[in-house]
Amino acid sequence: MIKKAYIFFIAIAFLLGCKPYSIKRTEKVNTSVSDTGSVDSSLVQIYKPYKISLDSSMNEVLNVSLVEMSTGSPEGKLGNFVSDLSLKIGNELYKEKTGNVADFVLLNNGGLRTFLPKGNITRRKIYELMPFENELVVVTLSAEKANNLFEYIAKKTVDGGTRKQGVPVSGNIKVVLNGLSPKDIFINESPFLGKEYKVITSDYLANGGDNMTFFLNPVKYEKIGIKLRDAIMHYVIDEKKAGKSLDAELDKRISYVE
């Protein structure tokens, strides 16, 4: 009996093992995943307890936005909104801590992960917008590195190119671009001087993220002590407390030579 089985397996092995298989043809179909109308809910059952706990806090409406905000190049309402609130909240904390204030904010559009709709803004939206645990830092740049920063903005802000996302900055700076070079730069209504500047950004970018190499080996690197998401959350809640809705506009903070 055992011997018979042995021979049987040898037969199978020879049938299947002698020559390699080869691909005869292929079929390729990518299928959209949408309501399949199935009654199976085995996976829903697994995530349901997680969802219930999560929804109770995430569905809370924190404020209302008067406009839809999305990223853009050379500027977008969303980038402007997040940069401006980062300057306000960031500098409040930074001043409290050190007595100093930073000059402006630089972030990246890649880090803003969704648009903000017009209407109710829930805590969930803020998490979707800024899911990362990045914190705000102040980086003091040499004159040369600050110059590199503005060259980076110019390179990232060519319109029409699919990979050029634009770079969000706070509204207290004005950059006029001429092709791939910055032509005029104003910071708090003063022309850009060859001097050190203090920039508020995220630790991710300060560590060279999104190829922001000008942030590496800075004059000074200081933590502010707040995550970017929490800064957004605080601002949204504070505005609500002050009876204000959320708003943002395009103000030509980055623009092209006319």
Partner: protein, 310 residues
């Protein structure tokens, strides 16, 4: 020439007893019918567990793990020789990740029966500690062939390649990750060393093809589909390597209507596929194998269409 005993051992070990007899049973019914292997895959799901909300501008009601699982189960019902892969960026994108650290994503993928995944840059978002803390919920391996984790806590926690036996067909799988420098904070990936993906791809496809005699070689990639600038991508990988049949991709969130054909270094065909992000689409490639030709028969591209299931 192997003697009988060695040959038998080799055959049983390599193909696995069960799959040998399964294939044989099928072969008995219709000896000349091709063996079909279905490859299903996702990428950049980014913690999208529930379908998009009904008021979402672009994707209302689409996606969601339950819908995905139902589709996967339909394919499995039709063909038990089905493999399911993910190409990284499992994490980050909904509060599920912020609150539960990826535990739920990995639990659900395990329940769906994923066979393997590679790592995307966002899978490092809670650091290697964060990944390791939830990894136990994954009942499938992570395959990384071009990250050297030897000087990190992920040492020996991933595989450089894995071979799956389906219906007597040996499917060799390796995985390629993207350069982390400049993309992920250094403190999150620590002493991970990024190795040249093209070099590693050629190395592992040769091992899988020659040493392990795989019938189908698949690369799980998180390099991205293609770039304007001169940066390594799946499109470049496809033409600068040999021995790979299929590159499943991610990172660039590219929605391909179907897998794209490229010609590799040796003039052979290689397919590249990627299915956007957020679990909106499920990629599928069916391979039909015949046995015994001395020369490998180049596949023809068969039926290919984009199916929207309402």
């Amino acid at each position: 020439m192997l003697n009988r005993r060695e040959f038998l051992q080799k055959a049983l070990f390599s193909a696995g007893l069960l799959s040998v007899s399964d294939a044989f049973a099928e072969g008995m019914v219709e000896r000349n019918e091709a063996i079909k292997i279905s490859i299903l895959h996702t990428n950049d799901v980014h913690s999208h567990i529930e379908p998009f909300s009904a008021d979402h501008k672009m994707y209302a009601g689409r996606g969601g793990v339950q819908n995905r699982f139902n589709l996967i189960q339909e394919v499995r019902k039709e063909n038990k020789n089905t493999l399911l892969f993910d190409c990284g960026d499992i994490f980050q994108g909904t509060p599920y990740f912020n609150k539960y650290g990826g535990e739920l994503e990995l639990k659900l993928m395990s329940k769906m029966g994923y066979d393997a995944s590679t790592l995307g840059n966002h899978d490092f978002d809670n650091g290697m500690n964060g990944f390791l803390a939830v990894k136990k919920h994954a009942k499938f391996p992570f395959i990384c062939s071009n990250y050297d984790f030897n000087d990190t806590i992920l040492k020996n926690k991933t595989l450089p390649f894995k071979i799956f036996n389906k219906g007597g067909i040996k499917v060799g799988v390796f995985g390629l990750g993207i350069q982390l420098d400049g993309l992920v904070d250094k403190k999150l990936y620590g002493n991970t060393i990024y190795l040249d993906p093209i070099k590693k791809a050629n190395e592992y496809s040769r091992i899988l093809r020659k040493t392990y005699q795989c019938d189908l070689v698949i690369c799980l990639s998180h390099l991205g589909y293609s770039y304007d600038e001169n940066k390594v991508s799946d499109s470049i990988l496809a033409i600068k390597t040999s021995g790979i049949d299929l590159i499943l991709g991610g990172h660039t969130h590219t929605f391909l209507e179907k897998a794209q054909e490229f010609t590799n270094l040796e003039g052979g065909k290689v397919l590249v596929n990627q299915v956007g992000w957020a679990g909106l689409n499920l990629g599928r490639i069916d391979y039909y194998f015949t046995k015994g030709q001395k020369k490998k028969v180049n596949f023809q591209s068969g039926r290919a269409s984009f199916v929207e299931i309402k």
